[in-house]
């Protein structure tokens, strides 16, 4: 468990009743979620769904970081964006829809993407991170700071009909730089994807964060799940730390 617990109200007990029936989660797990602050970095195709599930599950505080305004081409996958919000800030649309679902949750909406300058400040506000960023610079900045502050980081990624997920626990598992030491030269920020692919891995990311915060189940430590929805094949790959990683070793 990575957070302090917060007492539930009677209303919260009734809202979260069905998940507190999960035997190794229980009311203690719910109290941990309520006491937790989770950063979802970018609320796009992955992050919209991750944030929505975390809000539904009763996380006490969500920190959302995402720059820019809603575009028509966001709407095939960024499920917290709505047609009427085109041209207005994404993070506002996300905050509005999340608070409709969970008015008890505190939302910190930051209209910035994570970078080297703001990573320390933003990550210091959270207990766990779900990384849904499109650019490797953002991922590396977040990873570096998560490792420094010893905060767990759930890594979600997608491309075409493929998706991947692993969880980084600093000092225990490989970090992002262990797995990908450099920014790929050929990465383009626009790439093919379906909302159902990003949404699926967003859901998995939310579940990983819930397990890590509440301290139950087996998070994807030292393990990566790769998914190919075109062929419907799934793999679990054992990962290892890079003993000479410049970030975590």
């Amino acid at each position: 468990m990575v957070t302090k617990r917060a007492m539930l109200t009677d209303e919260e007990r009734s809202v979260y009743e069905w998940q507190t029936w999960v035997h190794d989660f229980g009311e203690a797990g719910q109290e941990a979620l309520k006491g937790a602050s989770v950063l979802v970095s970018r609320v796009g195709g992955l992050g919209s769904v991750a944030a929505y599930e975390l809000a539904a599950a009763g996380v006490g505080r969500l920190v959302l970081a995402h720059k820019g305004n809603v575009k028509p081409s966001d709407l095939n996958r960024q499920l917290l964006m709505t047609h009427d919000w085109i041209g207005k800030p994404r993070v506002e649309s996300a905050a509005r829809r999340l608070s409709e679902l969970n008015p008890r949750m505190e939302i910190v909406a930051i209209e910035e993407n994570i970078n080297e300058d703001n990573a320390e400040r933003i990550i210091s506000q959270c207990d766990a991170i779900v990384d849904c960023a499109p650019l490797f610079e953002e991922r590396f900045a977040m990873n570096r700071e998560a490792v420094r502050q010893k905060k767990p980081l759930v890594e979600c990624a997608m491309y075409d009909l493929e998706a991947r997920i692993t969880s980084v626990m600093p000092g225990v598992t490989p970090c992002v730089a262990c797995l990908h030491p450099e920014k790929p030269a050929e990465w383009k920020r626009e790439f093919p994807v379906f909302g159902a692919v990003s949404g699926m891995v967003g859901c998995l990311g939310a579940m990983e964060a819930i397990k890590i915060i509440a301290g139950f189940g087996e998070p994807l430590y030292n393990r990566m799940i790769t998914m190919d929805l075109r062929a419907m094949t799934f793999r679990s790959i054992q990962l290892k730390r890079n003993p000479s990683c410049p970030v975590c070793s």
Partner: protein, 100 residues
Amino acid sequence: MKIRVELTGQLKQAIGQAQLEYDLPEGSSIQRLFERLAAEFPEPASKYAIGEDGGLKPNILLFINDEQATADDSIVLHDGDVAGFLSPISGGSRHEEGKW
């Protein structure tokens, strides 16, 4: 011996196939597999997977039979091995730069 290769991400898209199969001499090292890949698909391989020195690019996560492997481990392949090349992939949404 038969080695199955699994491709992902941009490498898979550039080659146009998710899986390849190679027949290599018994006792071949992983390096032999890189050579075959580079010979058959010179452009996509050099762009996304194999460096100028003939070794694996550092950003490709290599796995053999569901276990991450370091390309310089002097890995010897065995009949039926599955070698996977995980090209880096990422997430979400693009930067805000246009008129919106």
